[in-house]
């Protein structure tokens, strides 16, 4: 089991889907039980990974490697190679957890074509896990594309009134980005063959050769290649201005679909940036040459900051709760990309942690909206008011998740956003300064939403008889709340898990000699983490003297 744990985690949902094929569709409860069983099994089976991974968290390289290069399609050099590092480990745990929660949350929300629904959902689960596990570029691409199909069907069949439009838009948009990436992949593949004489899509091999493209073909070709990957990932994240599919898809998707979409699917884009764009194109990111008055890295930061502010402003004026949460995702993911392209350990580890946080809190927000929608079949904010009077438990959970999402200290969102901002300030104070309003705006739109929906007296007579959460619904929130507090109060283990891969990624972009100001070498002092529990290890960067240390003391 130890040697094949990744394959087991990967295929458990798929086996569940195959088993479901043989269950008669009239027996809806049996279908539900079996689907939930496999979803829970998928989560439980991924739990042994935690101690096993923890034991080797500081070791370099990918862990739990499976398969061999080129063993799948030898004639083109594609292999079934799986492996994880700290980044993919966290995302995989998030995926298995959210997959289970979403399937649990669908019990009563999905009433027609139940069997199909669970089959596609489990297939989707395998597709997403595959994206995070694949260490062969071809395998990655197959999972990346194949997972669009079940998501398209989930939105298209079980979605809201404009489901067809949203489903097709989602599919076409993401496919358009990823086909260009395929061309980029092929270029890397031939480049690798030119250098080594070997045709392979193996990621570890491509890591050796791809950075040389900048010198071999010049900055222009390398920039174009970077862009071919950028479109695929930026559309998925989604970065401004490629975000327009997201509100449609989120609003129309069924609740569980939204949870997975926000919680996991969007992370595939940021994961792609970290896994591929950074190590493949260090030259492009450090190239001082400007393109339309900005360097390539400057553009990435610019788009991230615009996304943060724009997403928050648009959230502020939404009338539909789900749309509000959808746009808040654009804002939150802007923080994640900002952290990535800050290109330092703080920014990158904060970004990964914020991705997990976003999965937890925004996943929960979609569940929260879904619960109201299930009871009232409307998401208009003006339809509600004073809900805390009739649904106190619900209101409490919502408050916790809202605070987590807006980044209140002691909860998870704060740690992620703070670390990202720290990383941004370390590079340029302006980057951080422009991003900070996003935090304030997040508090504005979430608290205002809370006030309108929950506070006051019940304004709409239809809301007087709403029943509070059922035990099943509470169960969907419990793990998320625990995680929110855990990351908020004691993020150290998460940073430890991220330390090795993040430093490795940074050294691949910045070169092995690059020493991040204030970051202690991981090999020399494994206990030192980012941001460290020992504030002395962090030297506040010039220009931001008061920023780093005082807030950090408060957190630990």
């Amino acid at each position: 089991m130890y040697n094949h744990i990744l394959s087991i985690i990967l295929f458990t949902p798929l086996i569940g889907a195959l088993v479901l094929l043989f269950v008669p569709k009239e027996n809806k409860d049996a279908v539900r039980w079996i689907a939930n069983f496999f979803a829970l099994a998928g989560f439980l089976i991924s739990l042994p990974l935690v101690p096993w991974f923890w034991a080797q968290r500081f070791e370099p390289g990918f862990k739990f490697m499976e398969g061999a290069p080129n063993n799948w399609i030898p004639s083109i050099g594609a292999g079934y190679v799986l492996g994880i590092d700290g980044i993919s480990f966290l995302l995989i745990m998030l995926t298995t957890l959210l997959g289970w929660i979403s399937i649990l949350s669908s019990w009563s929300a999905i009433a027609n074509r139940v069997k199909e629904y669970y089959i596609w959902f489990l297939v989707l689960q395998t597709g997403m896990l595959g994206v995070f596990m694949a260490l062969d570029f071809f395998l990655f691409f197959v999972f990346w594309e194949a997972m669009l199909v079940p998501m398209y069907l989930l939105i298209g069949i079980w979605g809201g009134p404009r489901k067809l439009y949203a489903a097709i838009k989602f599919f076409l948009y993401t496919l358009a980005g990823s086909v260009l990436m395929l061309l980029g992949i092929l270029f890397l593949y031939f480049h690798h063959q030119h250098i080594t004489g070997i045709y392979t899509f193996s990621l570890t091999s491509l890591y050796q050769t791809a950075p040389h493209i900048y010198n071999d073909y010049g900055p222009q070709v390398a920039t174009l290649l970077f862009l071919s990957f950028f479109f695929a990932f930026a559309i998925k994240v989604p970065m401004f201005p490629f975000h327009t599919w997201l509100p449609d898809a989120h609003v129309e998707a069924p609740t569980a679909g939204s949870v997975i979409l926000a919680g996991v699917l969007l992370k595939m884009g940021t994961y792609g940036f970290i896994r591929f764009s950074l190590p493949f194109f260090p030259g492009v990111l450090s190239n001082p040459a400007t393109f339309m008055h900005m360097t390539m890295r400057g553009w990435m930061i610019f788009l991230s900051i615009v996304g943060i502010i724009y997403g928050a402003l648009v959230s502020l004026m939404q009338k539909d709760m789900k749309k509000l949460v959808a746009y808040s995702s654009v804002s939150h993911l802007g923080f994640c990309t900002l952290g990535i392209f800050a290109l330092n350990s703080a920014g990158l580890s904060g970004s990964v942690l914020q991705q997990i946080n976003h999965g937890i809190s925004t996943g929960a927000l979609f569940l929260i909206v879904g619960i109201l929608y299930e009871r009232r079949h409307t998401r208009e904010i003006s339809e509600y008011g004073g809900i805390s009077n009739v649904m106190p438990v619900y209101a409490t959970i919502t408050m916790i998740m809202f605070l987590s999402s807006m980044g209140l200290p002691l909860l998870n969102g704060f740690v992620g956003e703070f670390t990202i901002l720290q990383g941004a300030f370390m590079e340029r104070w302006k980057w951080g300064a422009w991003a900070v309003p996003g935090v304030v705006l997040a508090a504005a739109y979430l608290l205002w939403l809370y006030q309108r929906v929950f506070f006051g007296t019940v304004t709409n007579p239809k809301n007087e008889k709403l029943h509070d959460l059922t035990p099943r619904e509470v169960a969907t929130f419990v793990p998320l709340i625990i995680l929110a507090f855990w990351i908020g109060l004691y993020p150290k283990p998460f940073f430890q898990i991220l330390e090795q891969p993040v430093n490795h990624a940074i050294s691949m972009v910045r070169g092995p000699d690059y020493v991040q100001p204030g970051i202690v070498n991981a090999a020399a002092q494994p206990a030192a983490i980012v941001p460290s529990a020992t504030p002395a290890a962090i030297v506040p960067p010039a220009g931001t003297p008061g920023m780093a240390s005082p807030m950090k003391k408060g957190k630990n």
């Binding site: 290069p69 080129n70 063993n71 799948w72 399609i73 030898p74 004639s75 083109i76 050099g77 691409f141 197959v142 594309e145 194949a146 669009l148 199909v149 398209y152 069907l153 298209g156 069949i157 489901k163 067809l164 489903a167 097709i168 599919f171 076409l172 496919l175 358009a176 086909v179 260009l180 395929l182 061309l183 092929l186 270029f187 031939f190 063959q193 080594t196 004489g197 070997i198 045709y199 392979t200 174009l224």
Partner: protein, 513 residues
Amino acid sequence: VGALGLSASDYVLSLPITLLTLFALGILLIDLMLPKEKKWVNAVTALFGVAFSAAAIWNPFRENILTYLQAQRFASHPAMLNSMLVDRFAVYFWYLFLAATAVSILMSVRYLETEHENHGEYYALMLLAVAGMMCMTAGYDIVLIFIGLELMAISTYVLVGFLRRDRRSNEAALKYLLLGAFSSGIFAYGLSLFYGLTGSTNLVVIQQVLARQVMTSQYRPVAVVALITTVTGLLFKIAAIPFHQWAPDAYEGAPTSVTGFMSVAVKAAGWAMLLHILCIGLMPMRSIWLPLLVFVSIATMTGANFAALTQTNTKRLLAYSSIAHVGYMLLGLIAGTPTQLSADGIKGILIYLLVYTFMNLGAFGMITSLRHKNVIGDELDDLNGLYSRAPVEAVLMLVFMLSLAGIPPLAGFWGKYFIFLSLIESGHYALASLGVLYSVFGLYYYLKIANAMFMGKIEKGEEKLPISFTMRAALGVAALATVYIGVLPNRFIELVNWALGIVQNPAVARLTH
């Protein structure tokens, strides 16, 4: 050593063609004796014909007889006084035709019963068409190629008009006949000029004379005219824009089972002929036909994808989709340098034709099975709510649609993969980007079909769709092939390498063994 100056090996090598012809004639005879309710025997006979023909192609079988006869072993065998070359390329296509024909026959049985046109001639014509295709594919002599083309074309004209009582079918047959005859005339004109220029009808001789003498002589302009007319004829046959007008009408009007057969087997034969003529006979003129093909390919991808968007008839939509696929395949010929073909490009075309055969036949099979009682079933609306009427088949249709759109890990992806790979390899980045973006574009109209099936509402409260056993078998074979080739393509890539005589990359071999 026999009559007509033919040797025994000539007969062995052409045995698959002979067998098909004999079976076709046999069906015509048996049909006379069959009572009306036993007409399915014709289909079984045709399937046996296909099976025997396939067995006769089977390499060890052929090799044994040839060794016995001549005690010689070559990878390829010229036959019929050097007019035919049964090489691996030909064998690959022959099997492809036979597989497509077998699936088409399975799809036709119930359909012809529903249409009350269950005549033996249908199967006989199909087998004769395949015999013609085999001549086209193995032909190294433009006369044999042309005879094969006409045998195939005339059989297909009749098949298109097989529904005598249906006006659309008659109209389609007439249009197809007129435009087909016209294009054959242009094609023959071009070939006759080449004969005049080179003094030979053999493709290899034409190539040599063109390269050594004509292209540097004063007759070069004549050769260009001959090239343009020949290529026009070829592009007519594979339905590339701007020579595509016959295809949507013929596809829509023809009996659906014939449309499926036409869109894969007839098209593959046209491609085999095109590859032979352009890559052997007219290879010295590559620098001239290359820009033509670039134009045609871009026009085809653009025109077909846009035209497909607005179609409301499924058969017509798939007709435009099949034209669009021709556009992608042409990119495989464009890849490479002005003097050199890209091996990966040709490989891409061959794989494309292989996977296209199964996925497109599957799609047309599904539309064929919608024809029942009084429902014609070829409008997009007829697919509405198909999922609740025939869940398994609807999922299979989804597989075919996604495969046509090129979503991995389904077979259709591999055709596109190798085409775009060859373009990147030879530095045609702009064309590659255009091609992939059009393939995204294409997804839209394939999803229209998926939308109708899974998300559309059933209009008249229809009951379960009756699907015959043979149709289920045909759809099963097509879907299995589509998924299997998609997930485990290695064997098929090696098969195509074998067909093209490409040696497996030693670097890859080193890494894996």
